[in-house]
């Protein structure tokens, strides 16, 4: 057991802290009000190797590891959650399955530009009637001999409005159903018959893009199939197993960011002749929350370490995700509370954390679904 960060992990932390302090945090509140997708920040992150941290250099990545990826996601999210969302969906949800399940040709053609940050990625699994039950996919892909024909739609897809490359699931054999009937495909934004819907207006992570993907006789070449026909659901679940580590890191980030803002406010605001942090109830509550943030971070690091070692991490990432997203909510809620009325006023950043925290308990599998995974594993 080793709780020491490596030199590379230390430097990554230092680098991302500086980047967030100078580039991400100063514009976060304004961008949130404007619902502005962070186009320039994403471009800069690509140049700094932040859009493919844990992928090997030969596939355009930075050659780092999941721990470094989590450090970056946590800090980005602590500064501005939506930016963390963009990077996480791009890196683990879209580039991930091409790396783990794609052919060498697919990696060269699709993964390299994604990992370098030259193209942005998105992942389409959820449909109107296939949410938690994501195997209930209605979107179909039919083998037309020299191409695939895709029809249907996906909803709530992160990055959709700005992505160049999409990975999706579609039913290739209804009779076989979830296991064996679903396949996994790569879609280019310019594929004929493919389009995206209007931007969703959201409670939080308002600077991220969330749209419907629409397939109307969408024609794609045969070489866009990832893995074998029928392996789609397995690929999607395998992808989520590792990607949830990133959402868990986002949860820690929201909590950490809310903690820092609240700590500063409590140290300045005086009532009854003393600062708020001198009252025992808020002080002890902060001690408890801080401890839980640290516990969540350790769960994240544990899952990330397993992923780095190529070991199964499904249970660990599920535990990390629901625990971290819960502390994100609790910390943000208490953060608003300890700001008093100011916490409810939009001039103060803490309300943004309060709104951004909630999505962590929902996307990439709700907390209930995470508990389904954990209970399934421990009560067998």
């Amino acid at each position: 057991m080793n709780f020491q960060l490596t030199r590379e992990q230390e430097l990554t932390k230092k680098m991302v802290e500086k980047f967030c302090e100078e580039v991400v945090a100063p514009v976060a509140d304004d961008m949130d009000v404007e619902h502005e997708f962070p186009v320039d920040i994403v471009k800069q992150m690509g140049e700094l190797g932040m859009m493919g941290i844990m992928w090997p250099k030969e596939y355009g990545g930075a050659g780092g590891d999941y721990i470094q990826y989590c450090e970056v996601i946590e800090r980005l999210t602590a500064a501005h959650a939506a930016v963390g969302t963009v990077v996480a969906a791009h890196t683990s949800l879209c580039t991930g399955p091409i790396y783990y399940y794609g052919t060498e040709e697919q990696k060269q053609e699709w993964m390299v530009p994604l990992a370098k940050g030259e193209r942005l990625g998105a992942f389409g699994l959820t449909e109107a009637d296939a949410g938690s039950d994501s195997g209930a996919t209605q979107t179909t892909a039919v083998d037309m001999g020299d191409h695939w024909l895709i029809n249907g739609s996906k909803i709530f897809i992160t990055n959709a409005g700005y992505a160049d490359t999409f990975v999706i699931t579609a039913m290739t054999d209804k009779k076989l159903g979830t296991r064996g009937g679903i396949s996994f495909f790569i879609i280019d934004k310019d594929d004929p018959g493919f389009s995206t819907g209007a931007e969703e207006d959201k409670l939080g992570i308002r600077c991220s893009s969330t749209r419907e993907l629409i397939f109307e006789d969408c024609k794609i070449p045969k070489d866009r199939l990832v893995g074998k026909v029928g392996q789609g659901f397995k690929i999607a679940m395998g992808t989520l197993e590792k990607a949830r580590i990133g959402v868990a890191a986002q949860g820690v980030g929201v909590a950490q960011g809310a903690f820092e803002i609240t700590k500063e406010y409590m140290g300045q605001r005086k009532q009854f002749g003393k600062t708020i942090n001198k009252f025992q109830y808020p002080a002890f509550t902060m001690a408890e929350l801080y401890t839980r943030i640290e516990a969540a971070r350790l769960l994240v690091m544990r899952a990330a370490d397993l992923a780095d070692k190529g070991m199964p991490c499904g249970t660990e990432s599920a535990m990390a995700k629901f625990y971290a997203s819960e502390i994100a909510m609790d910390m943000a809620t208490k953060g608003v509370q300890f700001h008093g009325g100011y916490g409810f006023i939009n001039d103060y950043s803490i309300q943004r954390y309060f709104r951004d925290a909630k999505i962590m308990e929902i996307y990439e599998g709700t907390s209930e679904i995470q508990k389904l995974i954990v209970s399934g594993a421990i009560l067998r």
Partner: protein, 266 residues
């Protein structure tokens, strides 16, 4: 072609100054940062590398932990580092320091097309003497306060920033250029380069490595050999809160004179 950049690790001035018994600063006891003007020099060299593909070598004189700073500069894009570190060099003033650094730069080798970069001055000493002294010792032409640098063969065209304007100068390489932090925005470390920075070459020049260099005179290096001596280092007492007045109208001036009169200053 090479760009050799001299960089100093300085105490983080937002912290408290720790002082040793001999009056010099206890660097080991203070949080450190890379000197701002020097970071501008590194960025200028990296921009030259972007344009010409030249090799960038970062050089620092300091205690062993300064290696960490050099690794960070390599993670920004420098190709290799040289750390000048020896007990014999400790406590050097600007005269001794520039002598040692000049010897190290000379050992690295300055060829026809090369450029040596230094930051204008370090925030701890604030002398702005080391860069020009290195140039003198190496017999290189020098251009200070560079704001923009263009290279064409063995000629550099440099925009020199002055208080009330700028000056365009053309200088032949090899030469030494000093930069100010207002020049550019130093880039961030790159995650991909962070992965490589600990494997890139970093040479340590200790006393043994430099003592036979022609530029080194053992009698004029280190604390003992330095012609200037620090009498005392201390954290100045905090000044009172500052009051800002805005506007250039009569009313503001009246307000200002009123305040000064109240304090019996006028």
């Amino acid at each position: 072609m090479k760009a050799i950049v001299c960089v100093k690790q300085v105490p983080d001035t937002s912290g408290v100054v720790a002082v040793k018994a001999d009056g010099t600063m206890d660097r080991a006891a203070m949080a450190t940062i890379t000197n701002h003007d020097d970071l501008a020099a590194v960025e200028a060299a990296l921009e030259l590398k972007d344009k010409t593909g030249c090799e960038v070598i970062v050089v620092s004189m300091g205690p062993p932990p300064a290696e960490g700073m050099l690794r960070e500069l390599i993670a920004m894009g420098a190709d290799r580092g040289v750390l000048i570190s020896a007990r014999e060099f400790g406590g050097s003033d600007t005269y001794a320091t520039s002598q040692i650094i000049a010897a190290a730069v000379n050992k690295i080798g300055v060829d026809k097309e090369d450029v040596v970069f230094c930051g204008r001055q370090a925030i701890d000493g604030d002398t702005a003497q080391v860069g020009p002294q290195i140039a003198e010792k190496l017999g290189l032409p020098q251009v200070t306060y560079a704001a923009d640098i263009d290279k064409d063969g063995d000629k550099l065209t440099i925009k020199r920033l002055l208080e009330d304007g700028h000056m365009m100068l053309s200088v032949e390489t090899p030469c030494l250029v000093t930069t100010v932090k207002e020049l550019n925005n130093p880039r961030y470390m790159n995650v991909g380069l962070i992965q490589e920075c600990f494997d890139k070459p970093l040479d340590i020049f200790d006393y043994e490595a430099l003592k036979d260099e022609p530029l080194i005179d053992p009698d004029t290096i280190g604390l003992e050999g330095s012609p200037t001596n620090v009498y005392k280092s201390f954290s100045p007492p905090a000044k009172g809160a500052c009051q800002m007045l805005e506007g250039s109208d009569r009313g503001t001036v009246d307000e200002l004179t009123g305040i000064l009169a109240d304090k019996h200053l006028i």
